[in-house]
Symmetry: C3
Subunit: 408 residues, 3 copies
């Protein structure tokens, strides 16, 4: 036991030292979008997640909470992120309380202010997925955060619970930071990403209405670290314009580059990393929000039909072995947030050929495996801010550790 | 850490001393109705809840269970109480196992005896909400308790799990005791409530079939502490007659008073506390039970329609600014168990004007915030009885505390 | 506290010593079927379960995990087994994460490989109930185990989670081992079962499609310990032929006996133990699988109707007081996995007369009460293998225990 812990301290030494050098002030009580955070905040999130990942491998427990609730609100289906949130919660010593809006009294008119306060008396984090309607999800999270601010300021709540974005209409930060941590480990460091060519490309899928937040999250985050980011999509499939502009500005600032193309084949040329993934067209997403607001169910049905027809015009946007050969040395890293629509496996024609996916299966699973630790890192940093490094150090202190726990 | 704990011991000193002077014998294995408990039992419940509330503020963990299950059975929708039960469970170290009757094998004929025993092998508490049908909910809880008695006596169960009423057709003790603890803290002591005028009034709501247990719980509990309780409702909206009689007797016994009026305006005159809240008419509730028993779905639909029409005759029963001015110095404390039907916010016309609710928002939220601690207090007292004060004292002992835990 | 623990050490001494003499090597990462395990593995499972049962009575906590997830996948309704899995999970320090296939993104084509890995990053056990279709459930569990093997070998997973069968189409090992542990305690030892006559008999029930895995599990397990096992059913209600053959072979090997009869009355003659329970006919189960695979919903409906008609021909297969009198000294132990279809209680005509069930109620509940401990024993042995006895010994070491915990 002692040996494990001591070796733990050694291997974490470097990450921990890096963490101490970062400016963690103003990390904030919530994690809603990567673009609300400084570069140091993002680096800290990666460093804490990596430390927790290493702790887990070495049997060191970061169970820093004795008790406490982690509320979850899922307004869209989820397997991976729901598991990641549950696992992170458990790892740190909190417990999930899921708000099932159908089984609760959350009625037409109950205010967000009230719901949030009622669910926060002993709560440390509120994780939310609300990604279906453009202009809705992020706004909801902001209101939840404001309600928590009010309750804490008024003394209704003893603690300010952290609001954590588990996918909104704008960003999917637990995904994009898992993606980034995967790249850091794959290429051997954050610095090694500078100058690498990453292609985030639309790809065909027979399904309807996939959110824009994964590609938005990827371009908004990776342009901040000096990468050459190419965003490829058929003409109608642009992302939220403001986020495309933000990516462009950040690329300039970080001395990387950002460009948009409507040619998937060209976008794969010389890429070091490719991320081919389907999303709904921007126009469809906007129409959907409008129809939803006026409760036009028939209109929504018609829109779904039209969108599928529109998608089907672009079946050639698929990640083939042939395309992969055009990438840098034919060996680009293939990424996906999963589940991928694999041609001949999960659908007839989809985002990627089975042979390509099979080669990178281990890599995509590894990419997904960072998410519980990214979520846990967000929980620690939003709750403890600048005290986080000290708390982590205590976890790997063998004397402290042996006193608290038996076996992870 | 040490400092926090020591300060904890100091501030709790008074409450703890009070607790030691109370007669906790025969507290009982269950908490079904406040009128099954002695005054000392009720005072102890408040004192333990207050101590747990203070512990939480000061970062002292009362995690007295290493493991154990807290079964929950919700036969009606719930947000606040479900959260409170989950939070209390987690605070003390237990874990929720929800009985979802739809996903279980609980078939037509499976006996309560069997279900209860099957769900109790490692269980410490069973929390139940069953408030829809008059004559059903409380009776169900009594049978659950009897089944637990049998299993424990037979050696089928190692422990006798506590049955905790999370709202029945008769009482809602976690609500009424939260209400009382709020009053104690608002007015500065249980003794300060003696002679205060509390008006529990019916109010209009556009919704159907709200249980009677909140007003019943309030009048049955608060008449025991020397308050002058006025119960106001339109003629058809009386409560269970036996509970109205009980309130009357208790008021006499405690040297307070109890009266019923059919005039909301008059009832607000000079009130120190007002609790305007909707409930179904007694007649409708009785008809509903009968129709339910003969499975007359059409009859139930018709009844709902009739009830809403009946309610709508009393739209003037609403808590307005004007009415509030009639209260003692125009400053009565407004109470609500939440969610309130707020006119212009959660419905067109409802129980309370938005401007009144807004003034007391912080107070109603604070009132709700006692519930997790009331539930936890019931768990401790039903499980540990007279040993409870000693167990609580150990939690705030810094040496013990530092050995067990890291951070709340 | 100290006294409790010391007494714990004393009473467990014998069981613990027995455990140390067993060969625990190759216990395996999963528990899918009792016939995949050696006699020593089975004895160890019983011994560990008994130790955990005793620990619970004496307030000794076996909370060996600091954190970790226990995934549950229930493809059929469950009350008892779901509770048992939850309670075992909590007892050892893990936390349930239920995969609700309806709320997740588990789509038509997502591979088991992917789902399993995505749900296993911080997971220690995966409990699965999949018992509806012959040829499906066990196969699914094998594929889950293979996916976990792959993920662990590839370094995607830090730990190999244990797959635990919570009822498949072939076996129901948590049930059959609970049944066996009940017999061991009832008759005073595993050796005392040698030569005892056990009758596993089909019985009439008005319900449709009960799995074959309970009777299969019972005959496959109990024939390995020198019992004389009689399997009785109406002609069409045979079990999977390979499992009947296996039971026959094992009976010979263990110097017990195994026979099949189509006469319930004869089967009860001289029995020491009777286990009358309904199951679907083998032919119906096979047809059901075929209709399910071609999605013939009308065919499935028709089959259900036919099956109920077929069942109803055998209403005389019921456990009566009269039949019980034919057993050894009229005092055979009546067993049931619960819930039983009790004539006049849970149905008009069913598996057992109310008067018989009532006499053995305490016994059947006690039988059910071993299941949480059997599940926990499987978790410990699949996760820790040969280290399990040492870990258990540490739990009852008073010094260690007092350092970790406060109260069970």
């Amino acid at each position: 036991m002692r040996l494990i812990c001591i070796s733990g301290s050694f291997t974490h030494g470097n990450t921990m030292k890096k963490l101490e050098k970062l400016n963690l002030s103003h990390y904030g009580h919530d994690f809603l979008r990567t673009w609300d955070k400084s570069i140091d905040h993002l680096k800290a999130t990666l460093a804490v997640a990596q430390t927790l990942r290493d702790f887990h491998r070495q049997g060191i427990s970061p169970k820093v909470f004795t008790s406490g609730i982690a509320v979850s609100i899922f307004r869209d289906k989820s397997t991976r992120t729901k598991y990641s949130y549950a696992a992170a919660t458990n790892l740190l010593g909190l417990e999930i309380e899921d708000l099932d809006e159908k089984k609760s009294q959350i009625a037409h008119g109950e205010t967000i202010m009230e719901t949030v306060n009622m669910l926060s008396f002993l709560t440390r984090t509120i994780g939310i997925r609300d990604d279906i309607f453009l202009g809705v999800g992020h706004q909801y999270m902001v209101e939840v955060a404001k309600a928590a601010d009010w309750g804490y300021a008024q003394g209704v709540l003893d603690k300010r619970p952290s609001v954590i974005n588990l996918q909104s209409d704008e960003d999917h930060p637990t995904q994009s930071l898992s993606d980034l941590l995967h790249l850091v480990n794959y290429f051997g460091g954050l610095d090694k990403l500078r100058g690498k060519n990453l292609t985030m490309s639309w790809a065909y899928s027979p399904s309807y209405g996939k959110p824009l937040s994964v590609p938005q999250g990827v371009i908004a985050l990776l342009t901040r670290f000096g990468m050459n980011v190419t965003l490829a999509y058929p003409k109608e499939y642009n992302l939220i314009p403001e986020i495309e502009s933000y990516a462009d500005q950040q690329a300039k600032k970080s001395k990387g580059s950002f460009r948009i193309t409507n040619d998937m084949k060209e976008a794969f040329n010389g890429a070091d990393i490719v991320y081919p993934k389907s999303w709904a067209s921007y126009d469809v997403m906007n129409q959907r929000t409008k129809l939803f607001k006026i409760k036009d169910d028939k209109g929504l049905e018609r829109l779904e039909h039209e969108a599928l027809v529109q998608n089907a015009k672009h079946k050639d946007w698929t990640c083939t072995e042939k395309l992969m050969k055009q990438t840098h040395q034919g060996k680009a890293l293939y990424m996906h947030c999963l589940p991928a629509d694999i041609s001949g496996v999960s659908c007839k024609e989809g985002e990627v050929e089975a042979r390509v996916f099979e080669v990178y299966k281990k890599q995509t699973y590894t990419q997904a495996g960072y998410k519980p630790f990214i979520v846990a890192a967000m929980m620690l940093l939003t709750q403890f801010g600048e005290k986080t490094p000290k708390i982590l150090a205590t976890c790997s202190d063998p004397q402290f550790y042996s006193r608290r726990s038996f076996r992870v």
